[in-house]
């Protein structure tokens, strides 16, 4: 039963009103499942899911990535740092 720590930034942080969440997921859960759960538990996040990318341990990971207990998952909306 992986429990994962989820980090929110930028617009997601504003919408959800939190910087961090904890999600309990079933064994064998992937990033794909985490995204579904997020959409269910936080409907405000739903419109963001199409362009949202996730990072685990500070690396971008695909939807099939398997989550382990204690993982640190960052939700990365389209980035806009850098310069004009």
């Amino acid at each position: 039963m992986p429990q994962v720590h989820v980090r929110l930034f930028a617009g997601l942080h504003d919408l959800v009103g939190k910087r961090d969440l904890v999600l309990d997921l079933p064994a064998g859960a992937t990033i794909g499942l985490l995204r579904e759960r997020l959409g269910e538990e936080y409907p405000v996040v739903q419109p963001f899911l199409a362009t949202l990318v996730c990072a685990v341990d500070e690396e971008y990971v695909p939807s099939g990535h398997l989550l382990r207990d204690g993982d640190d998952v960052a939700l990365i909306p389209p980035i806009s740092g850098g310069a004009a």
Binding site: A10, Y60, A74, S80, A83
Partner: protein, 143 residues
């Protein structure tokens, strides 16, 4: 030298950190807060970042630049938090033996920072604000 910081950026130590006795050229890029974007007047910007990952990705961009161009040094500073018009959000310094490589490598580094580093910008206008959606980062192994 690589940093994500809330303090104003100081270009001089960054340039000194990339200069080598065998380099003939240094190119320093400043990303600056403009007073206008897409037809709207900007009051100020607010930058958010996933700081440890952003720092790691800045270093990864530098590794990519060093693998691709014959440069002698690369350094990047990115400021976050609230920035006023005219303030510098990004500094990228590249040194090389000759000017062509320094220009090309620095331009490439700025492009890659925009594509890969988890930093977000909110534009604040007189009558509202918006988090700007830019690049969806590439995910290794994704379809």
């Amino acid at each position: 030298m690589f940093a994500i910081t809330r303090e104003p950026l100081d270009p001089m130590p960054l340039v000194e950190s990339v200069r080598r006795d065998e380099c003939g050229a240094v190119v320093l890029f400043y990303g600056v807060v403009r007073n206008e974007n897409r037809g709207r007047s900007v009051r100020y910007l607010e930058y958010d970042a996933y700081e440890p990952m952003a720092l790691k990705k800045l270093r990864a961009v530098a590794d990519e630049v060093r693998a691709k161009f014959p440069v002698t040094g690369v350094g990047v500073l990115h400021r976050i938090g609230r920035l006023e018009v005219g303030e510098t959000s990004l500094l990228v310094a590249v040194s090389a033996g000759h000017r062509r490589e320094a220009f090309e490598a620095c331009h490439y580094a700025v492009d890659r920072i925009k594509e890969t580093v988890p930093i977000w910008k909110k534009e604040v206008w007189e009558d509202g604000s918006e988090w700007i959606e830019g690049h969806v980062p590439e995910v290794p192994g994704a379809g």
